[in-house]
Symmetry: C2
Subunit: 124 residues, 2 copies
């Protein structure tokens, strides 16, 4: 808890969103804050199960909970989304770059006929 390393964070965030109920909860919380009971109502699972899901989302940093009498209003923390999009975009861009480089290589090969094409060696 003291040092939430980005790696650990990413583990939890991706894992949290791998469950359809939790994704649905996030979707609904993006529209409005809600209590545990309100969130649990549409699903056929018990309130306790939803409470567990909320805990997973909270541990991932996706949801924060305050107090209002007995109720525990849940609030979406959209900030964490950035962590994911940064990770995803980084490697997507890298892959796309590689793709365009491959295109260029193929074009060059087409020019210089069938020469020795040592280029894409192992990236050790």
């Amino acid at each position: 808890m003291t040092a939430p390393q980005p790696d650990d964070r990413l583990n939890r965030v991706f894992a949290a969103l791998s469950d359809p109920i939790r994704r649905d909860i996030v979707a609904r919380l993006s529209l409005a804050d809600a209590t545990v009971g309100e969130l649990a109502e549409p699903y056929e699972v018990s309130t306790q199960a939803v409470s567990k899901h909320l805990k997973v989302l909270e541990d991932a940093g996706l949801v924060s909970r305050s107090r209002d009498a007995q109720k525990r209003p849940c609030h979406l923390e959209a900030e964490v989304f950035d962590l994911m999009t940064k990770w995803i975009e980084r490697y997507r861009r890298q892959a796309e770059e590689r793709f365009t480089r491959l295109d260029a290589l193929l074009a060059a090969m087409d020019d210089t006929d069938t020469q020795d094409t040592r280029e894409e060696g192992a990236a050790s």
Copy 2:
């Protein structure tokens, strides 16, 4: 497999990326295609374990495998990333919108004093 519904897809993609080894594999495949053995080398787990990880990534649609003699070169399919970013961006935008609307509402309330403020009703 016949009808990979987007929901199911998202389950698998998010779950696949919730493991640090699998994220690392994706990161390395974004630089260059690689065989199972090459991918397994840096880790302390067995080749079979990495083979399993590759299967998870393949089932999620993140990786495709071709054949070259005994080797099975792995290739990153960056397309699936879009599915995630679309999902994420959708709800992040929604949350941000709500945030700015709340700001506006507060400003309006400050103007018109304490009127009836029915706005954020349940999202049935």
